[in-house]
């Protein structure tokens, strides 16, 4: 019985190879339309830059991060391709979850750990990922995935560093997942 439910639920997810081809076509479309790949952390950077600028109008000239940001982005930080794309991601993710019946407010965690422990690690992981995405000039989407599609050396290096590190550290965090 439980085996049947498991199968039923697994059928609701796309076949991973089909999902991969579709993801590739989306990435291809992004490159064809905008000349750049997909991204996620770039949109967060835009929001961060906007809030800093709102609070401190002179930040662009006094804060080195804002100077660097302004150097690579013209105009208002929120009028950015990745901000519009990320708004789409939220809509697309929601629609897919709604169609598949996966909309549910919950903390997902292994039965062996508490919600509290899961949330503490989620926060810590988010902080590290946010910081790392800035150091590495992009995250799994913008640097690793999109970089690989255009054969960027940096994209491959970042991809190997992300997955390699996670594999090496997996042993120490195994209680959280298995």
């Amino acid at each position: 019985m439980s085996n049947n439910t498991t199968k039923e639920r697994s059928r609701r997810y796309l076949n991973p190879y089909l999902g991969g081809v579709l993801l590739g076509l989306v990435l291809l479309a992004a490159n064809f339309v905008s000349g750049r790949g997909l991204g996620a952390s770039g949109a967060i950077k835009s929001v961060v830059a906007t809030t800093i600028e709102t609070v401190d109008k002179d930040a662009v000239s006094t804060m080195p991060f804002m100077e660097e940001y302004a150097g690579s982005h013209s105009g208002s930080p929120m009028k950015s391709w990745l901000v519009f794309q990320m708004l789409g991601v939220i809509v697309g993710g929601f629609l897919s979850g709604a169609v598949a019946g996966r909309l549910k407010l919950k903390v997902e965690h292994s039965p062996k750990i508490t919600s509290r422990r899961r949330l503490i690690f989620a926060l810590a992981g988010g902080i590290l990922f946010g910081l790392g995405s800035q150091i590495g000039r992009g995250c799994t989407s913008g640097s690793a995935l999109s970089g690989m599609a255009v054969l960027s050396l940096g994209g491959f290096v970042t991809m190997m560093a992300i997955f390699g590190t996670a594999f090496v550290l997996a042993y120490f965090f195994r209680k959280n997942w298995i």
Partner: protein, 196 residues
Amino acid sequence: MGPLAPNEIISENTNFLLAFFIGIAFGWVLESSGFSSSRKLAGIFYGYDTVVLKVFFTGAITAMLGLLFMSLFGWVDLDLVYVNPTYLTSAIIGGVVMGAGFIMGGFCPGTSFCGAAIGKIDAMVFIVGLFLGVYGFAFTYPLWEKMYMAKYLGEPRVSEKLGMSDGLFGLFLIIAAMGMFIVAEWAEKKWPREEY
């Protein structure tokens, strides 16, 4: 012809509108592949679920082949397509920090927004962390600057560095991915799997 925006075939505003629609497709594919679940994502590191590897590499290869063929047919000018610059030191250090964040948090930025969109509270907390991390970087940027700018190599392609054509490198990448997919299928059989 392509890329459309750099060639000024479409206006800036059309480009932004298309970004929104491309984002919807991106979010839809990620969520329907199971990327809204941290336990599915983390599975790759323990062998019980390798969906990340399969989707990620199939995606990268599909887009790479698509770009190479479109360039061959003259549909897209690869010189106008952005190639991520390579700052070797920060690419490695940033990747290491992200890898640690991945195994602890169970998400990456894109997937956490998908998780949050379907109500995963752990994904929402992860996003709060992302913002804190980016603010942290912004306010401590002078500390990182030297490392951030170190070992700048321009915008090299891996194929260039290895002295082979893009197509040949692409072929090797496909063979490598096939090998990993075989290992992945084996691992999923070896370690029991649940759906979340």
